[in-house]
């Protein structure tokens, strides 16, 4: 009899603990961040039509599917359903990556009236000259790699925190920069998926790449660089 009441007390404590845990592990859902500028504010480099579709349809879809995948993952983890957990990894990488990458991208862009296109000063400007020789040479390199990327993906300017240098990288599909190396921090990413430029530039991706620099927000890239290289 004493044993039985002991067992009951133990079970009760366990049950209380797991409820508390479950509450603290409540699933966070993600939502579409607002653009800090109007859809048409980046013209003529990027058309308002593209910005609206890109933000309201493409990015929103990644977020919707990311939330869905996370919920399914949460369920699968609780049920101990390992094969579903593993099966969901590609959906999470793809949609979660899409959300991460596009959230950075909107901050990487700014209307000319708000500093878009203005070259970086301060420590980032100096680091670019040291690592690439000049801003023009960095732009040339990123444009070449962006144009050569087969299919869909991104071209990045990143900071390698361990080696303490700037790097130019490309990732396929929606892979975030960190999939190329755990020490890589994205400073600036350019979306080279066809949806990022097709309505305006059609098949001429190099023209898009040439023009996008007029609205690149170096202020944001500098802020990230200063914070991460401190």
């Amino acid at each position: 009899m004493a044993l039985r009441s002991l067992a009951t007390r133990k079970t009760l404590t366990l049950a209380l603990k797991s409820t508390r845990l479950a509450q603290s592990r409540a699933l966070q859902t993600f939502s579409l961040p607002d653009l800090p500028y109007d859809y048409g504010a980046l013209e003529p480099s990027i058309s308002g039509e593209i910005m609206q579709l890109h933000h309201q349809k493409h990015h929103q879809t990644y977020i919707t599917n990311y939330n869905k995948a996370l919920e399914q993952l949460h369920d699968a983890i609780q049920k101990g359903d390992s094969s579903t957990v593993v099966k969901l990894q590609s959906a999470i990488k793809f949609n979660g990556g899409g959300h991460i990458n596009h959230s950075i991208f909107w901050k990487n862009l700014a209307p000319i009236s708000e500093g878009g296109g203005e070259p970086p000063h301060g420590s980032l400007g100096w680091a670019i000259d040291t690592n690439f020789g000049s801003l023009e040479s960095l732009i040339q390199k990123m444009n070449a790699e962006g144009a050569a990327l087969q299919g869909s993906g991104w071209v990045w300017l990143g900071l390698d925190k361990e080696l303490k240098k700037l790097v130019v990288e490309t990732t396929t599909n929606q892979d975030p920069l960190v999939t190329n190396g755990p020490n890589l921090v994205p400073l600036l990413g350019i979306d080279v998926w066809e949806h990022a430029y097709y309505l305006q530039y059609k098949n001429v991706r190099p023209d898009y790449l040439k023009n996008v620099w007029k609205v690149i927000n170096w202020k944001y890239a500098s802020e990230v660089y200063e914070k991460e290289s401190a």
């Binding site: 299919g151 599909n173 066809e194």
Partner: protein, 245 residues
């Protein structure tokens, strides 16, 4: 599919693949090879060589244009319909699966209906126990420029799901594009012709492989140390093999 889309897709994208491929091939070992051979050689078992993307995309787009016709759509008939019903349960199930494959190809790529004859889903593997059952229709999807030729399948039908294929007409709504393709553009006659060719080539290949196997066994040198009894047992085994199906 709008005129504007075709003007860009065929007139710019496809044309660029062909022009760039010609430039890459001139003066190299690839010159003079057929397009399909170039694809297999430059695929290099996955470790792709520079000319692969242009070669495969040139082929893929040819195949894509021929998969469509004005006033297409509807249902296939005859052998093709029979095989579809055998391998997918029903024509409706096939459509569902094909549309799902096309919609879930992440990033750029293609969805395919292909005829698989005694090939396994592992590159260059041949089924060691060939049978009639292992000749079947399959739906596969591939990224970027990859196509089922590299897996030694016979492609029958494809849909291009690179964004440039549908963005002017459908923007981000890829599922709508896929539906319209199935309902209004697919040329089932072409798919049928391709299936007949595929079956014929599969049969030819089987005969080739059978002949080569027989030649190998008959040409086998006898081991001097073995006595006559062993030789007889070996011959018996040979007979068993030729009766297996």
């Amino acid at each position: 599919m709008s005129r504007e889309t075709l003007a860009y897709h065929w007139g710019k994208h496809h044309r660029t693949y062909v022009e760039n491929l010609n430039k890459q091939v001139v003066g190299t070992d690839l010159e003079g090879l057929s397009l399909e051979d170039i694809i297999i050689v430059t695929y290099n078992k996955g470790d792709i060589l520079p000319a692969f993307n242009n070669a495969a995309q040139a082929w893929n787009h040819d195949f894509f244009w021929e998969s469509m016709k004005p006033g297409g759509g509807g249902k296939p008939s005859g052998d093709l319909l029979d095989l579809i019903e055998r391998d997918f349960g029903s024509f409706e199930r096939f459509i569902e699966e094909f549309k799902a494959a096309a919609a879930t190809q992440f990033g750029s790529g293609w969805a395919w209906l292909a005829y698989k004859a005694n090939r396994l889903d592992v590159e260059n593997a041949v089924n060691p126990w060939p049978s009639e059952k292992d000749k079947e229709l399959v739906i596969v999807k591939s990224p970027n420029a990859v196509n089922p030729l590299v897996w030694d399948y016979f492609p029958l039908l494809t849909i291009d799901v690179w964004e440039h294929a549908y963005y002017l007409d459908f923007q981000n709504r890829r599922p709508d594009y896929i539906s319209v393709f199935m309902e209004k553009l697919v040329s089932w006659e072409t798919v049928n012709t391709r299936l007949e060719k595929a079956k014929a080539r599969a049969a030819e290949r089987e005969m080739e492989e059978e002949r080569r196997r027989k030649e190998e066994e008959e040409g086998k040198p006898t081991n001097e140390e073995e006595d006559d009894d062993d030789l007889e047992m070996y011959v018996d085994n040979d007979n068993d093999d030729s009766e297996a199906e």
